[in-house]
């Protein structure tokens, strides 16, 4: 099963909607709640990152019997130092965004913790593509 979502930078109310839809699909499919929680965290964080840092983008989810594969990509300014960005507490979010409870510097570390495979393709001015796999059968 495949799902596609547009992450619209102008519609803040929809941020998190892609993750919610995938979560509902997994619930209907009877996937184990602990797996659904991991997918929800990883996808939400990457969706919010695309929204806040990437100026919107798109998300894809592919679900089969063995795994859930999610790709979230944006055409934003990219991450110049990925190693630094993976550290807990490090964030480039501005004050306005932080007041809203984002920018804690936990997004990428949370994604890493909750995925079985993670690949981030990014660079200055190149946008960011986050490829995540969460296995259903260990």
């Amino acid at each position: 099963m495949k799902q596609y979502f547009k992450i619209d930078r102008d519609d803040f109310g929809m941020a998190g909607e892609a993750s919610s839809t995938v979560k509902r699909t997994l619930t209907k499919l009877g996937v184990e709640p602990t797996i659904i929680k991991r997918v929800a965290i990883a996808m939400y964080e990457s969706e919010i990152n695309a929204f806040i840092h990437g100026g919107g983008g798109e998300a894809f989810a592919e679900i089969d019997d063995e795994k859930i594969r999610i790709i979230v990509k944006d055409q934003g300014k990219g991450i110049s130092d990925l190693k630094l960005a993976m550290q807990e507490g490090w964030s480039t979010a501005d004050e306005e965004v932080r007041k809203m409870g984002f920018g804690a510097g936990m997004g990428l570390p949370n994604i890493e913790k909750n995925t079985d495979e993670l690949e981030i393709i990014t660079g200055p001015g190149e946008g960011t593509e986050v490829r995540m796999t969460i296995r259903i059968q260990k």
Partner: protein, 108 residues
């Protein structure tokens, strides 16, 4: 305890009609959404001072029993509308987080 009973016990303001029969199993307090995403559990009453649209997604993704907005913060109609659509219950109180948590501990 069900959300509806909590509303009565703590004299909370019911901002939505959705999810009143959900069962509350514990409490989580937090405003940093990444941390709420990893720590808030299914069935938690989530106390926060955030009032923007994204709290509905966070509560929905976590299967939180309800959101309780502390400290008498005002909310936009669009938040309530989104919460009703997602069947997320939002309650409000003039009490601050600590007092709310204390009272929740007494009644749960």
């Amino acid at each position: 305890m069900k959300v509806e009973n909590l509303v009565n016990e703590l004299n909370l303001v019911k901002l939505t009609e959705a999810g009143m029969d959900r069962e509350i199993s514990d409490v989580y307090i937090g405003d940093l959404l990444s941390i709420v995403m990893s720590k808030c559990r299914e069935g938690s009453a989530w106390i926060t001072s955030q009032t923007h649209m994204n709290i509905v997604s966070v509560a929905d993704l976590n299967d939180a029993a309800c959101i309780i907005i502390a400290g008498g913060a005002q909310v936009e109609d669009s938040l309530i509308q989104k919460a009703e659509e997602c069947e997320v219950s939002i309650l409000a109180s003039n009490m601050e987080s600590y007092e709310l948590a204390w009272k929740l501990h007494e009644v749960l």
